[in-house]
Amino acid sequence: MFEREIRRRAKELLEAKAVDLVIGYTSGSLPFQARPILVSSPEDTEQLVWNHFCSPNLARYLLPYRESSKKIALLAKGCDTRAVVILLREEQFPRERIHIIGLPCSGIISKRKLEEKLGEIKEEDFSWEENSFLCQGKKWEIDSFLEDTCARCRYPNPPLWDDLIGEKREPRESSVDYLEKISSQAEEERWQFFTQELSRCIRCYACRNACPLCYCKECFAESDVPRWISGVPTLSDNLFFHLGRSMHLAGRCVECGACERACPEEIKIGLLPLKVEEIIKNNFSFEAGLSLEEEAPLLTYKENDPGEFIK
């Protein structure tokens, strides 16, 4: 929708040598897929795309450049920009090195949901709009096809940007919040759901590696001294890993859902970090990644913090 402007701006920045690299999206090798791309020469900016399948969180690709001095322009959706804000706040980069090309986002569409509702699909049959699409003559709203984390997104607009391409939009009203749905189930049912889902986990760590905020040099899951979990994907070890990861993301998760979209087993792995963020929002009035001046919720305290659970 705004591809031409994006390509133009990226080309300008590279030609003026305002940045050394541009990280964005390009079309994938499979239909209905987009992949990250690194552009370092102005001619290659023609390969940049921006559509409903731009799924990975590009802030993750900033992490290898922490030690270098290169200046990087990043195409960032609302949630991706929040991740950049947290990385800046955690002093991983000086602000001047990152040039944020902010993209207000109407959500990522799940290929699986498309196939479920529409059967066998071919790319040629579709024409895409911001909030709807045409397929074989029929118009559909994208609401029911969005990825679960996108359906509940509260911050489609980047909170911080150097360039803003696209129109700011309001968060969606009508869509189903899958976290609420799970929370409304009975406790035992929820436990059954999680044990079922997490038994399928093969501990490939795609969720952790796709997350822009999981950047520990050595993850606790792979630590030998101390050794927390074994290398086998048993249910107890999987629970340990996901609970531990959610706690390490407490107050830092930007609810982008990249972890869930990365999972090869299609497990609803985002639910645990999302629940932690909900707990923090409801009790400490904090949402991660919205401003550079915010203070990490677990690094501050108030005298009247909830404490009835302590004897």
């Binding site: 090798s29 499979l30 490939c204 760590y205 590696n209 792979e222 050794r227």
Partner: protein
């Protein structure tokens, strides 16, 4: 034992009898699920049966005076595994060569010898499939395994060791039909990699193409764990004075895979690890064993979170190699 057609009802008789000892891979079930009773056990691929993600090797105990070690003995019921040709090739041409050539891995051998394979011909390759690129094919078969081509009302079976009551023996007419079917399915599949590829790829170890190729990879372990041929494992001890040794899946994509005790890591970044994966499958293994350690099933392409496509990597390297050869 011969080959021929078996009518549907005879097939069901034969299969009902064994349904408790049958494994069916997920991809085979997707295509041929209607030919099998619902009670058969579904597995992701052959690796799950032969090389489980976690396995006890031995147990030990400090008695107060000495270490007692008890090796774990397992025995397995003879079973059947029905799978697609690419998955079967992964077992017969890759993991068997690794674990059954001396020294023989005892656990793998015990499981393997009690497992009979039934190769279901692949009649609908997916857009991510590329078995023909790496020396396989949708009708690949092995003489030690059964070979089945399910059709509308009957199944064509080639095999030995199993008593089948063929409704029609495998005469010339049937063979022709199967061959025609094979040619049709193989239309449009990529042609094999050149025979000089393994050796030439090795000479491109320092090529700067690897930088561009490996940039996108996030170094998770999804491709290695889902790959039917990846067999790397880690050994660890669980427990202190009493415990067991554990063999678990490991991935060359993990940062600690080649971490030495001196803390030197010869593959410190993603680039070395991605390069290693491609070189191992397409250069080191073929030079030693004669075939690629990749069967072209395409699961890694389908599941990679960032759409890292091994076919593209191969294409680029072939292009480079061909350019330098001319």
């Amino acid at each position: 034992m011969g080959e021929g057609l078996i009518a549907k009802d005879k097939w069901w008789e034969w299969i009902e009898d064994k349904k408790d000892r049958i494994f069916l891979t997920e991809r085979a079930k997707k295509r041929y699920g209607e030919w099998f009773p619902p009670e058969v056990k579904m597995v992701k691929n052959g690796k799950e049966v032969l090389l489980p993600p976690g396995e006890e090797m031995y147990r030990y105990l400090w008695t107060g005076e000495e270490w007692k070690v008890e090796e774990r003995e397992f025995s397995y019921e003879p079973s059947f595994l029905f799978l697609l040709p690419c998955e079967a090739r992964a077992i017969i041409e890759v993991t068997d060569k690794v674990f059954l050539h001396p020294p023989v891995d005892k656990n793998y051998w015990l499981r393997r010898k009690s497992l009979s394979l039934g190769i279901l011909a692949c009649l609908q390759p997916e857009p991510t499939c590329f078995c023909s690129l790496v020396g396989g094919g949708p009708f690949w078969r092995d003489e030690e395994a059964l070979f089945l081509v399910p059709r509308k009302e009957d199944i064509y079976i080639e095999g030995r060791g199993e008593p089948f009551s063929f409704s029609e023996e495998g005469g010339e007419k049937i063979k022709q039909e199967i061959q025609t079917l094979q040619k049709e399915v193989e239309k449009g599949l990529p042609s094999p990699l050149p025979s000089y590829f393994p050796q030439e790829l090795y000479h491109h170890f320092e090529d700067e193409e690897w930088n561009a190729l490996s940039w996108r990879c996030i170094n998770c372990g999804a491709c290695t764990f889902l790959c039917p041929t990846c067999y790397c494992f880690d050994l660890s001890i669980e427990g202190r004075l009493k415990g067991f040794q554990l063999r678990s899946w490991d991935s060359c994509m993990f940062p600690k895979f080649t971490l030495h005790a001196s803390f030197h890591n010869p593959r410190p970044t993603g680039k070395e690890r991605v390069r290693q994966r491609v070189m191992h499958k397409f250069s080191y293994f073929p030079e030693r064993e004669g075939n690629f350690a990749c069967v072209g099933c395409g699961v890694c392409v389908e599941k990679c979170p960032v759409n890292w496509d091994i076919r593209e990597a191969l294409e680029r390297m072939v292009e480079k190699i061909d350019r330098l050869r001319t």
